[in-house]
Symmetry: D2
Subunit: 406 residues, 4 copies
């Protein structure tokens, strides 16, 4: 005969963690997948609950909440923050609202996860760090969502670097290439509006790779020399956009692009390694080519986000005749996060970074330990981006990146 | 002020589909991820509900149900089938129990999704086809879980073949290489026991690639010549295993491996193309290397499951000077399943095949159309595997594969 | 002031080796490059001199001799053999004339280098082995031109296998894919005429990979099961061809293709490893895809002739977390032949195999040691090809390969 | 009976071109291979004859001449230039002697081929351009040896760009990575001495890639911002070196490295595309990684010298679903230089660039047309390198590259 075991949650379930999320576009969908899945794959000390989703359009946010699995919907982020069933506020809006929401949420006693970039300006980021420090003393935690640290290959690369497998670092070589703005007819979305997005490829893609490079090397960038460029200076205004967007084109209204299409910069890390960075949205044929290579005195690492289950590692201490870049499939149980997933060779995808992010944050919340990347990490990235813009504005002169003192 | 919209499910939600699943190991976890996620990513006409999970060990199945998100647990699959809240039975057990459970579930009026291989023998598979045909007339649907058809690159490859982009087919070249049995000390699990698994690499890996090759080409295999081999004939019995497993080794009991480590076969498709297949679990360094190449008079396709977001396509009608295998990142909104996922280049992983499988099955159930792969497809694969075993037993002589007369 | 040193050859040059070559098409040009270059790159104990070139068309062979750097031209191979300034006869004709020329040259007291395949039949190959053994006792040497053994990556792979880096061999997986017969309008050359070529892809491409696999593994194939196919059975007769070629097509005469387009076979090596082979000229998009993989209990090797400066090596004894196929650039001074060439990473090409072949043969001639591959090696390949044809003719039944007894 | 045709050179051979070469190290060996081979593979209007080789050490140059196939040896380059049997002087010495030898040779009425970089300074390069212009009016030709333009894939890439297949250029992304200075114990050769080499990675590797980028794009660089670095500032003095090399180390004398290990620069092309360059000799595991990518509004190209027979091309005007970087094997008869070589897929190597260089130069000499790259091209590269050094010395400020006015 059969035995039905209705789950006795009171007896066995971990405590609840109420999550409230602001924003439900690309990032909102990705974070939702992370929150829904983390506790189903990993054994978590807290049970994330998708308590409420917030967006300005009532009908749209309601549909999104049902689709993505959120129990309730809100149209004002202040109301979301005020909810008693929300312990953590997850901010997935454009960068111009990060500071206001994050500071308010922290002041309201909530934990905060904020999407990258931390803010659109250094000043905003500094205010957020300030708020996070104050909240930390009250037991609240804040974290910024540089999700690529949670690609298993990246996390494993960090382990190899930290173990000294590369020796003294000589070169950091990074690109983040996309091509969705190659076509001049691609529309003028909020991502091309400086007031919303802060910058273009620099803030969107450059922020990712600056954080990733600093994380993997364990070193900050200390100075940069930069060029930025906007190849297409006007683009079609999408239908339904407001009147704020400039001139009218022949076959439809055109508006000014106020951010960069591409940013190119070189610099030095704290230990003196040379570093090069490129972020662009007009590299035809490159869809999501975050490539990264580190060369050290004892070895090298190479990674390509378009093949995110792989890490290339060259051990320079081996005999020359049999040495070479080895293609490690980062899908072994020994690799970060992989014990909970599938057998070797059964790869993960992009969204798993958000599952891992949720997992790590839940562990931090349960233990009370500060999760990484911190708001300070986000501020450091912001300072690099600001130095890039300053250098680009000053004839590419080498521009120091102010370092945090604490 | 804020507006809370508690989800009004009665008004907006699609009808419920109660799923009951038998088995909760590797495949059970993967199917759970599929059922949990499909409705959150795709707009589905039915709402899958993880009603009940079934396994023999009461405590273990209870834990699994809580972890994986199933509302209830059962210890007898007959009880699971009998549940009123179960509309579809999803069978994730070893192959020796597929026929019994599937036939019983169909006779009990349930829809059935059965993991591959459909069965361990042709006779079992034929009985299942019989039961599925009878059920079909009652409006029930049955499908076999060859999930690799739902890798977007594979689904897109099928489109290209069906559109005639390869012309007349000349060659089919397939391997499925793993290496987890390379070490002779790897334990004697149920997968190495013929009474449970039916066969070794042949049924486990070969079944996948035979189905995939037949699906992509749109042609059945009509005859094969085969070699099989068991390189390691005895392996350590895992602790806690029953007494049925043979002799005792020096540092622990050894038991006989009763299935193949590797199977190699060549053959012809219905249209006369030459085909080669290799399935092995002892290819050191190959983790999940399902590689597939098709050559036709007008073009070629190449795929590697270890890089599942990519498809290589050579268009032989192009000028020679600029032709070559192009690496298509199968992550564009135009590609199968991709409209609902992430932007170009943000790759998917292994488990997404189960999300897509759930999606397609739900659509079929809502429309009443027969989903693919059918039990007949599973039977056809079984007949190929039987012909392989027959050829291997008869000095590799070319052995016809009996074709279904519909 | 300057000092002119006209080279004093009598004082410093090594003894002369007069080479006479029969045939000046593709292989003749490649061998010429080998003979011209070997002594310029390597320090050789004998100085190869391109004494005379032989071909049937007087004007054409004269032009070829001038172009390729041969001092004289002959129109009768018997005259070439008879020349006193010829010490070594290099046979680059189609396979049907190999036996006659080689046996005659050996009987005339010359050393012989014979292009692969050694002959078109086992009987011819046996006669050549017989002649070579007799000549060996007189101090003459004979060698067959399986040039791919002299790809540095292949020679290095052999070293790794011989050192035991792969452990016990499990799998041999080989393809040789070309596509120049994909188009049915491709003309009916001598390579498609069984009386000249012996067989099609089997003898042309299959001979290469059978020899290479046997060389790398150090093991003969002991049995095979095979399928062969001719997809295009009639092709246009090239203008100027004789009347012997069958029927007339609509827009030009068609003649029968009497050899295979493709051959597929599986088998076992002497130690019990499973092996698969495919040779084809109709794999659209594959230009010269000789791919080879070996899997053993301790490691694996992978090679692709289209990237001939690279060898992939997986060491299965390494920790799983950092193991993977490493891409070795076989361009280090430690690698076979490379000390005499360019700095690391400055790759070699196809024709270098002929330079290396000339170098190794010259060293053997100077030392009197038997060069490899021997005529016996060529005969062993011929026996494998014969077993393939026999199996294909007998319903693919497993067909033993007779082994040489001495 | 046989007919011997001793070559009647007077009747059929093209006119003689006497070549005299200065230097016989790495570059000398490579150029020798080019001069020996060009006329054997290509039909040339002049017959290159290796008349005399020049080097300072009488015994060594004599050995080199015999090994490499030069008819005579000289120990004073002025004597070489004075020889009547020398029509063309090929300069393969370190950069510090290029100007003096080239100017003298041109003034002596000889044609000149000068290895890259054209000179060590802009002033020297300007003097050489001056001399070349004067000589041009007397019918003499001068060319600089940027051999990578003659990689078939590079020449074909130029064709595609010139045909407009990339549209408007957006990005140029170039690296030239080697690793032979990774080890601090690597000796202090002339290449690390500024007085001989001019600069380090910048002049050696950077010169190559600057020329190649300007050639492929058809555009000069107009400004740069740069960082350079010497990671290892002292290295062991090789035995037998003179006393001029500084301090003494513990286990042997150390001397100062006076050139850069690595140079990193970003800039703009004339049309406004962004460009990034990296040249280094300390990128562990990268042997000869000259990688180059161009992105335009209609397509992209990618190349890697370590796989020099391949070119990757993305056509952005194709449907997104089937577009992607295609791997073109640049081995078809339609590709530059390939009609004279081997069948498709039978790749070429590094040294073939020198064969092609010799071929193209001989054609130019026969026709009287100016060969490329010209000394002006070499000067333009030198100006870029000077701008790089100036920017690096001036805090990376953006530094214009003076453009040639004629």
């Amino acid at each position: 005969m059969s035995t039905t075991e209705h789950e006795d949650e009171s007896a066995t379930s971990p405590p609840r963690l109420g999550v409230g999320m602001v924003g439900y576009a690309f990032m909102g969908a990705a974070h939702s997948q992370g929150w829904r899945t983390a506790g189903r794959v990993f054994a978590l000390p807290l049970r994330p609950e998708l308590a409420a989703l917030c967006g300005r359009d009532r009908a749209a946010v309601g549909r999104a909440a049902r689709q993505l699995g959120w129990a309730a919907a809100e149209t004002d982020w202040r109301a979301l923050i005020a909810r008693e069933d929300v312990d953590l506020v997850d901010i997935c809006t454009p960068g111009d609202s990060h500071a206001e929401i994050a500071v308010a949420a922290l002041e309201a006693g909530k934990h905060v996860l904020c999407e990258k970039p931390l803010a659109n300006t250094v000043a905003e980021a500094e205010a957020m760090v300030e708020a996070a420090r104050a909240a930390r003393e009250r037991g609240q935690l804040a974290m910024v969502g540089f999700n690529y640290r949670r690609v298993p290959a990246a996390a494993f690369a960090r382990q190899l670097v930290a173990e000294g497998r590369l020796g003294t670092l000589r070169h950091v070589r990074v690109t983040y290439l996309q091509d969705w703005l190659t076509d001049p007819a691609s529309p003028l979305t909020w991502r091309l509006d400086k007031s919303k997005a802060g910058s273009g490829a620099l803030g969107d893609l450059g922020a990712h790779v600056v954080d990733l490079a600093q994380y993997l090397t364990g070193e900050p960038l200390v100075g940069v020399s930069a060029l930025t460029e906007t190849f297409t200076t006007e683009r079609p205004v999408p239908e339904g956009s407001g009147a704020w967007l400039g001139s009218t084109g022949a076959g439809g209204r055109l508006g000014p692009v106020t951010v960069d299409d591409a940013a190119l910069f070189i610099g030095r890390t704290a230990s003196g390694a040379l570093a090069s960075f490129e972020a662009t949205r007009v590299a035809a044929g490159r869809k999501n080519a975050l490539t990264l290579e580190l060369n050290g005195s004892k070895g090298s690492l190479s990674f390509d986000l378009e093949r995110l289950n792989e890490l290339s590692f060259h051990d320079h201490t081996e005999p020359a005749a049999t040495s070479g870049f080895r293609r490690i499939l980062v899908t072994e149980p020994e690799h970060p996060y992989l014990h909970a997933w599938w057998p070797p060779g059964h790869g993960l995808g992009y969204e798993h970074t958000f599952v891992h992010q949720a997992r790590d944050l839940v562990h931090a919340l349960a233990s009370g330990e500060q999760p990484v990347p911190t708001f300070e990490d986000g501020l450091q990235v912001q300072r690099v981006l600001a130095a890039v813009e300053e250098s680009a504005a000053k004839n590419s002169v080498y521009t120091p990146v102010p370092q945090q003192t604490s």
